[in-house]
Amino acid sequence: MSGAVTNRVLLAVALALAAVYLFPLYWMYVTSLKTQSSIFAVPPEFLPGAPQWDNYATIWEVANIPRYIGNSLVIASGVTLITALIGSGCAYVLARYRNGWIDAALFAVLMLQVLPPSLMVTPIFVGFASVGLLEYPRFATILAFSAKTMPFFVILCRAAFMTVPRELEEAALVDGNSRVGAFFMIVLPLARNGLLISALLVFMNGFGEYVYSASIIADNRLQPASIGMTNFLQPNVVNWNAIMAFAATYVTPILAAFVLLQRQIVNGLTAGALK
């Protein structure tokens, strides 16, 4: 089979797979344009009969979307920052050595993310209340959620650091780097792919964070989009298409950014052989 044909066949398969996989996403967009009741139509409507564009107008008016997304960005960035800052160093050390201490640390890190946020939030809330951290609710949320993402980040980055040949770091040391310098200038860039992807996953996670924000952030003005969205979930009235429109509004730009970024990252250079 010639290269061009293989290429086209693969592309076709990829598109087909993507189409199947992305169907739920499509459903989100379609639903956001349906009426309240046509969501439940039998047989299902694959294209909204009469697209309800004003679903978008409505949520834009009712929900303060820019503010919500702004808060989400603040929380996601904060979480990513703390996680990456504290986590990557730890991951690096855990990748670099092999001994009992390291095993214990690795074990601890993994264990510490065992509980789901819904079970962690009560003690955290109580603790934060007693030290006054609730005065800074977004910061408190960032602190709490970073502890949730950190183990995840550490474990993944550790795998990334495993792929950086030790000798490159040694070369840097001889070239005059301190350990810190070699870490930042040689090891980090070489483990870049894994790190960035992990950080991006953390960011996404922070962007959709719900449980901690919901409990810790009392002030509406500081709440993230994940909470803004659930305000359409009322006891008897559930404004599904508004929720879908809301979700579409805040998922789409992030998804686009992600598609663009991951391409750079996963395809970036790899360390490869030394010699």
């Binding site: 293989t6 290429n7 693969l10 592309l11 398969v13 990829a14 797979l17 993507a18 992305l22 169907f23 459903w27 989100m28 969501i39 047989p43 299902p44 694959f46 160093g89 730890c90 690096y92 050390v93 990748a95 640390a105 074990f107 601890a108 993994l110 510490l112 993310q113 065992v114 509980l115 819904s118 079970l119 962690m120 009560t122 003690p123 109580v126 502890a147 950190m150 550490v154 993944l156 795998a159 990334a160 792929t163 030790r166 810190v180 870490f183 792919n193 894994g194 962007f207 959709g208 969205m229 998922v251 992030i254 992600f258 598609v259 991951q262 391409r263 996963v266 790899t270 360390a271 490869g272």
Partner: protein, 300 residues
């Protein structure tokens, strides 16, 4: 003092410091809550005394109550099915996709990016979407299956005690696959190309290269992805809340959902904590296995 500083910059102190910082952070923000949960599993926790640390001692009453609960056995089994099923299929599909997109064809990287959509979507939205997709009457999945002639009558995925767990399982597989895929893709990209060249010259076909080069070289990544996959699956909550609420008749209740129900629906925090303690024990084993598996990793 200068000695310590020097060690921080150039010596083992640097390593120790990095680990200590992260570990202490985790111990404060994740370790203490965890201990709190363990403690209250031995206490009678009143809804209004949640805020204090000391509650009436309950000994093993909560544990007894959980083990005596007729639901316990089913929840255990359902949790196992859900967790293993999710992880196995997410991993397999994720790996297959990662390998597929590892081939160099036009658009591979773009399309792969689209697969990450699931990861970006809030759990609640994913739950709602699958709730609709899997719905018996107006669900698209039934509609498509019927129009392809694969089924006669609609399957009530969510409402049949036989299928409700699988309904959530399907949604969870969809949700978790991209996470597996992207991390495995990064791991794949980090394998030096000349190893494949050498293996090809040694006569390895694609399948053999996969088994003898790719898999062992990706040990670190695979171990991490699997361990995290199990832990994440054990925390999956949104999908249950949105699709089945653990029902009908408890047929899709898993440990984490039960724990949440006990704590926040029945306000029996002690018993809720018992389940989380049991989950901690499970994760303990997962962690041990993971830590052991790192012995076989390859550092380049």
């Amino acid at each position: 003092m200068t000695r310590i500083l020097r060690s921080l910059r150039d010596g083992i102190g640097f390593d120790v410091m990095l680990v200590i910082i992260a570990l202490s952070y985790l111990l404060v923000f994740a370790g203490l809550p965890l201990i709190y949960n363990v403690i209250i599993s031995f206490q009678t926790v009143d809804v209004f005394s949640l805020g204090t640390l000391w509650h009436p001692n309950a000994g093993f009453d909560n544990y007894r109550a959980i083990f005596d609960d007729p639901l316990a056995g089913r929840v255990l089994w359902q949790t196992i099915v859900f967790t293993l099923g999710s992880v196995a299929l997410q991993f397999t599909l994720g790996f297959a996709l990662a390998l597929f997109f590892h081939q160099n064809f036009t658009g591979a990287t773009w399309i792969r990016g689209l697969f990450l959509a699931a990861w970006v979507m809030p759990g609640l939205v994913v739950g709602v979407l699958w709730n609709w997709l899997l719905s018996g009457d107006f669900g698209v999945i039934n509609h498509l299956l019927e129009s392809f002639g694969l089924i006669e009558d609609p399957v009530f995925w969510r409402s049949n005690v036989e299928t409700s767990l699988y309904a959530v399982l399907i949604a969870n597989i969809w949700y978790g696959t991209p996470f597996n895929m992207i991390l495995l893709a990064v791991g794949l990209a980090a394998i030096p190309g000349d190893l494949y060249e050498a293996a090809e010259l040694d006569g390895a076909n694609a399948f053999q290269r996969f088994w003898t080069i790719t898999l062992p070289m990706m040990r670190a990544t695979i171990g991490a992805v699997l361990a995290l996959g199990i832990i994440f699956t054990l925390q999956q909550f949104d999908l249950f809340a949105a699709i089945t609420q653990g029902g009908p008749a408890g047929s899709s209740t898993v440990a984490q959902y039960w724990s949440w129900q006990l704590s926040f629906r029945e306000f029996d925090f002690g018993r809720g904590a018992v389940i989380s303690v049991l989950m901690i024990i499970v994760v303990l084993f997962v962690s041990l296995i993971y830590v052991r598996s790192t012995k076989a990793e390859t550092q380049l």
